[in-house]
Amino acid sequence: MSIDNEIGAPRCVVGRRQLIAQLRTVLPPHCLLIEEEELRPYECDGLTAYRQLPSLVALPENEAQAQAALEICAALNAPVVPRGAATGLSGGAMPHRDGVVVSLAKLKRIVKLDPLARTAVVQPGVRNLAVSEAAAPYGLYYAPDPSSQIACTIGGNVAENSGGVHCLKYGLTVHNVLRVRGLTVDGEIVEFGNAALDAPGYDLLALMNGSEGMLALITEVTVKLTPKPELAQVVLASFDEVTKAGDAVAGIIAAGIIPAGLEMMDKKATHAVEPYVNAGYDMDAEAILLCESDGTPEEVAEEIARMKAVLEHSGASGIRVSQNEAERLKFWAGRKAAFPAVGRITPDYLCMDGTIPRKNLARMLVAIAEMEVRYGLRCANVFHAGDGNLHPLIMYDANVPGQLDLATAFGAEILELSVELGGTITGEHGVGIEKIGQMCAQFSPDELDLFRRLKRAFDPGGLLNPGKAIPAAARCREYRLTRGAAPLAGSVR
C-alpha cells in the first residue's frame, strides 16, 4: 500500500546519515537502532498484513531525550511515527520508509498514584493493566480494559481512544483521562487538561484522544481511577436465533439497565472458543450473550433479577448466572480469548471494528452471512452488543494467492455497510492505514478537508505519523471512481 500521497507526507527528506549523526548527539547509543536486524521487529504493529521497515528507531529514556530527538527530526524534515506496545490493529504504528519510529517503551514509570484524589500520573509506556495492578491495594482500578490490556500501553490507549468490554457503563479512554502532557512536532512541551475535571479554552484533551499520534507526541498521562465495585456477576444466556439475542439487547436497555458489560458471540465464535478455553458455552446456541452487573451486593441482586426477566422474555433458550468469581471469570474467559481462539483455527484473520446502531445488528449479521458465501471465506462475529461495536473476524490464508485481497474486500464491504446503517467504520481500533480508504466513504470532501486543516493547526509540515487516518484528496477521488459511489454530506447518514 502506498502512503506517499497522503496528507503532509514530506516530499523530500534529508539523508539518513545526517539524521543518525545528529540523533547520536542526543540519544545514548543503545537508544538508537539503525541496523536492519534491529529495525525488523518494528516493521509492523498488530496489523501484520502491512509491513514497512523504518529508516531508524529512537527509544528515548525520558522526555528531554524525546524532545531533543523531535527537534532534530523537525529541523531535518524527517517523519516521526510514535509507537507504544504496537498492539494496535489498524496499522497506526506502521513505520514510514524515510521516518523515525519513536518508541515510548522505555517511558514506563508510574510517576505518582494518589489514592485519595483517585488519579495516577503515568508515563506513556506504562501498560494498561499495570495501572490497575498498582491501584488495586487501594480498592481502585483503571476502568478502560481493552482485550490487549496485558500488553497495550496508556500512550497508545490515548492515541486510539481505546474501549473495552466495560465502556458502556465506564466510558472510553477519553472519559477516563484528565491530562495529557506531550510535545508538539517542534519539540515544545504542551499540556492538555490538568489535575481538575476541566480546563480553560477548547477541549484539546478530548481532541488528543483518538488522534492516532498525528497531533503531538505523548510523554505523560494523568488517568482517573475508579473504586472497584464490591461485587460483579454475569448472566450467560443462549439463543436459538441471532435476532432474538439482538432483541434481548434492546430489551435490556429499554428496561433502563446499563449493564457493566454486554457482549454477544455468534455460533462460529463460540465454536472456535469452546475447545480452546472450555468456558462452558452452549454449543447448540446460534448466539450467546454475556450480561454483567456490578455494584453493591444489593444492587447486583436487584439488577441480575431484572436482567434475567428481560432475557427470559426475549426467548433465551438457556440462562446461567455466575455463582462465584471463578465462574464469572470462566464465562468471560471465552470472550476475552475470542481473537486468539479464532487465530488457532485459521492461518490468518482480519478483525473489523465497525459500530452500528444496535437495532441494525440482525441486518448486519444476515448481510455478513451472505458475504461469507460470496467471498468464499468464513467470518466469526464477536460483538460489544451494549454499544453497537462489531468485531467480525474474517478468516483467510495469506499463503493462498488472492485470499488477502478477498478478505480485504470483504472487510471493506462490512465497513461500508456500517456507514450505510448509520454507524462508523471504526469504534475503537482506529483508522490507521487499514481503513483509510473507507474514510472516503464516511466523510465528504469538505469534511476531510477540515480534518486536514485541523491537522495542520498542530503540525503544518505533516511530519507526525504521516499517511495515517486522514486520506489525501487524490486517494478519495480514486476511491470514488473505483467504488462507483460518491457519498456527499448527509447522503448516507
Partner: protein, 372 residues
C-alpha cells in the same frame, strides 16, 4: 429534513459566506440564556444570527440511548421528551432560563451537580452537524457510542462558545433516570466535608451529587433502590440526616440553576475547577464563608466584591486547576478576562484551530479569548 429546516441552513450558510467575504462578524445566539458567560462579543459590532427557529427533535430511539436535536430546540422540551421515556441528560446541564436551547447548551459546555459521577457534557456529545466559517455544512461523529473515525470534532465544539462554527444539530447520549434518589445532610465544616467526600469517592458508593455550603454538606445518592438505601444507611451513623424528597429536589435544582441564595446579588462569581483534594481555599481580602463546594470538592464557587482576579487565578493554578469569572459586570470581565489565560503554546494552538475552522474570523470574536 423539512423544507423549512433546509432553507434555514442554506440561509445561514449564505450569511456566513457574505460575512466572510465582507470581513464582518456574526454573533451566534440561541435563547440568550448564557449571554452573561464569557467575554464580549463586542468586537466589530457583529450582527446576531439567532438559531431558535431551527428547532425540533430529529431522532430519538430510547433503546439506542441517543437523541438527535436541532440547535434551536428548547432544552426544557428535550428534557421533557426524554423524561417521558424514563431517560435524561445525565450531566444535568444548567438552563439559566426557559429560553435555553440545545445548541447553546452544547456551545457553553456546562454541566450540573451530577458531573463528578456521570461525566461532563462533552462526554455525552456523540455527533454534530455544523456550519464552518466557510459556510460549509459538515457532519462529524454520529449516533453511536463508539466512534474513532477522524478527529473528535464533536467534543471539540462542546464549550467552544460558538467560536469554531455554528452547531446546527447535535446527537447526545442519554441515560435512564435513576430508579431511586436519597439525600442526606451533615453538619460539617468545609475541610471536614472535603476530607469525607474524598474518602467516600474512593468507595463504590452511588453518590450522584454533593454540595457544601454554610457548615452543611448535602450528599445525594442515586441508582437502584436497594443500593441507594444501603449506602444512605451506612452513612447515617456518621450523623447524616435524611432530607425530604421534595426539599432535596428543590435544593439540587437551585444549585443547578444558580437560584440558590448563594448566587443572589451582583458580587462577581468565580468558579474554580481544582483537584477534589485541594484544601479549603483562602483569598486575601475575601470572606472565607462566601464559598460553595460541589462535585466532591472539584468545583469551588467563590464570591466577593473587589478585584481579586490575579490572586484567585494564582491560587487555582497552584492547586493544579483554573478559575473562571463565571458572572461579573462587563467591565470586570473585560479587565480580568472570563477565562484563565492560556500558556503560549496552547494559545498558538487555539489560534491555529480557530483559523482552521473559521479562517476569516466570522464567529463570536473575543467571546472566549480577546486574541481571537
Amino acid at each position: 429534513m423539512s423544507g423549512h429546516g433546509a432553507s434555514s441552513l442554506a440561509h445561514w450558510a449564505e450569511r456566513i459566506r457574505a460575512a466572510a467575504a465582507g470581513r464582518s462578524h456574526l454573533r451566534l445566539r440561541g435563547g440568550g440564556s448564557k449571554d452573561f458567560y464569557g467575554c464580549g462579543p463586542d468586537a466589530g459590532n457583529p450582527d446576531t444570527l439567532g438559531t431558535r427557529d431551527y428547532a425540533g427533535i430529529v431522532a430519538y430511539e430510547p433503546t439506542e440511548l441517543v437523541v438527535t436535536a436541532r440547535c434551536g430546540t428548547p432544552l426544557a422540551e428535550l428534557e421533557a421528551v426524554l423524561a417521558e421515556q424514563g431517560q435524561s441528560l445525565a450531566f444535568e446541564p444548567p438552563h439559566f432560563g426557559s429560553e435555553a436551547t440545545v445548541g447553546g447548551c452544547v456551545a457553553a459546555g456546562l454541566s450540573g451537580p451530577r458531573r463528578a459521577q456521570a461525566g461532563a457534557l462533552r462526554d455525552f456529545v456523540l455527533g454534530v452537524k455544523m456550519l464552518d466559517g466557510n459556510g460549509d455544512l459538515l457532519t462529524f461523529g454520529g449516533q453511536v457510542m463508539k466512534n474513532v473515525a477522524g478527529y473528535d470534532v464533536p467534543r471539540l465544539l462542546a464549550g467552544s462558545l460558538g467560536t469554531l462554527g455554528l452547531i446546527a444539530e447535535v446527537s447526545l447520549k442519554v441515560l435512564p433516570l435513576p430508579v431511586a434518589e436519597h439525600t442526606l445532610r451533615f453538619e460539617l465544616a468545609q475541610q471536614e466535608a472535603l476530607d469525607l467526600l474524598n474518602r467516600w469517592g474512593g468507595r463504590p458508593l452511588p453518590i450522584s451529587a454533593s454540595a457544601w455550603r454554610g457548615d452543611a454538606l448535602h450528599v445525594r445518592f442515586s441508582g437502584a433502590a436497594a443500593a441507594v438505601g444501603a449506602a444512605a444507611n451506612s452513612l447515617v451513623g456518621l450523623g447524616g440526616q435524611p432530607v425530604a424528597a421534595a426539599e432535596a429536589s428543590a435544593f439540587w435544582h437551585s444549585l443547578r440553576e444558580q437560584t440558590h441564595a448563594f448566587f443572589a446579588g451582583d458580587a462577581p462569581l468565580w468558579r474554580l475547577a481544582v483537584p477534589s483534594t485541594t484544601p479549603v481555599l483562602a483569598v486575601d481580602g475575601m470572606r472565607s464563608d462566601a464559598q460553595l463546594v460541589e462535585w466532591g470538592g472539584a468545583q469551588r464557587w467563590l464570591r466577593g466584591e473587589g478585584d481579586h482576579a490575579a490572586a484567585i487565578r494564582a491560587l487555582a493554578t497552584e492547586a493544579g486547576g483554573h478559575a473562571t469569572l463565571f458572572r461579573g459586570d462587563a467591565a470586570t470581565r473585560a479587565s480580568s478576562g472570563a477565562f484563565q489565560p492560556l500558556s503560549a503554546p496552547l494559545l498558538r494552538l487555539h489560534r491555529n484551530l480557530k483559523a482552521a475552522f473559521d479562517p476569516r474570523g466570522v464567529f463570536n470574536p473575543g467571546r472566549l479569548y480577546p486574541e481571537f
